[in-house]
């Protein structure tokens, strides 16, 4: 079995999947190394809780390991992993909260006005001005303020880069519903972040 770290080459994901399916633990570990940080951060943003995020991370890769032989490779490995992670994350939230809040196909009860209330410009480079941990905490707090259905759509579409079609399929929503939720999610997150990141008039 070839060593994926030989010659310092970054192996193609599909090659690693083939090797992992053939029994190479090292290939599987390479796949884990690529995506563990992203899955943990996704978990943190979805659940808002470090313990749940770590559980979600472990359960995702343990499940992926277990079900790897049945992965048909008709999607990217990462998309498959995200699908597992989302299901794990939703289960976590259902255990912790009322089921109403995590029903993804619920008709949006947020049909209120979408017109923004904050119009101030932001500090030009918050990622340079703020401590990394401080900025992450601000981002997570804002994400937590969103209803689960908006939050999930936002992270799948904008952060994980899934298409509208993939997101719709994964969450069992229509494509129109994904677009509508993404629109509201972006505006509401912006509104939340504005509270902290806007340029104060007296500064």
């Amino acid at each position: 079995m070839a060593n994926s770290r030989d010659a310092g080459l970054v192996k193609d994901e599909s090659v690693l999947v083939t090797e992992a399916k053939a029994g190479s633990y090292e290939a599987f570990e390479d796949l884990v190394n690529r995506y563990e940080k992203k899955i943990y951060r996704l978990g943190l943003n979805l659940t808002g809780n470090p313990e749940d995020a770590e559980d979600m991370l472990q359960e995702t890769f343990l499940k992926a390991f277990e079900h790897l032989p049945t992965f048909r490779e008709d999607s990217r490995f990462y998309t498959w992993i995200v699908r597992i992670a989302i299901n794990q994350g939703l289960m976590k939230l259902r255990k912790r909260r009322s089921s109403k809040e995590v029903q993804l196909d619920e008709p949006s009860n947020d049909d209120g006005d979408i017109m923004p209330r904050e119009f101030a410009d932001w500090r030009p480079n918050p990622e340079q001005e703020l401590e990394r941990t401080e900025l992450e905490a601000i981002l997570q707090d804002a994400a937590r303020s969103l209803p689960m259905t908006f939050r999930t759509v936002f992270f799948l579409r904008d952060v994980e880069g899934l298409s509208t079609e993939e997101t719709a399929e994964l969450l069992n929503l229509s494509e129109g519903a994904v677009k509508a939720r993404l629109f509201r999610a972006r505006l509401r997150l912006r509104e939340e972040l504005s509270k902290t990141l806007k340029i104060k008039k007296d500064s």
Binding site: V32, K37, L62, P126, R132, L135, L139, R186, L197
Partner: protein, 79 residues
């Protein structure tokens, strides 16, 4: 174009999905409306901030515990 119409186009604009006519009309509005311009700029920034996970680091021990759990599972399966 008024502000309400402009805001409705925010996703289409950010995702590059507007046709040229609509895009031009919107840009004319944005050039003359500081409020909408600020909303557009900060919405774009919102997405950028969440996407930028480069600086994110896993808390101590998370990675080790994950890899330990995976190895235990792998060893159990190889027996």
């Amino acid at each position: 174009m008024n502000c309400r119409n402009a805001i409705q186009q925010i996703c289409g604009y950010l995702d590059g999905n507007l046709d040229e006519d609509l895009k031009r009309t919107l840009e004319v509005h944005l050039n003359g409306c500081h409020h909408c311009k600020a909303v557009f700029d900060t919405t774009r920034k919102t997405v950028e901030l969440y996407c930028d996970g480069k600086l994110f680091v896993l808390p101590t021990g998370v990675r080790e515990r994950l890899h330990d759990a995976l190895r235990v599972k792998w060893e159990a399966q190889s027996k």
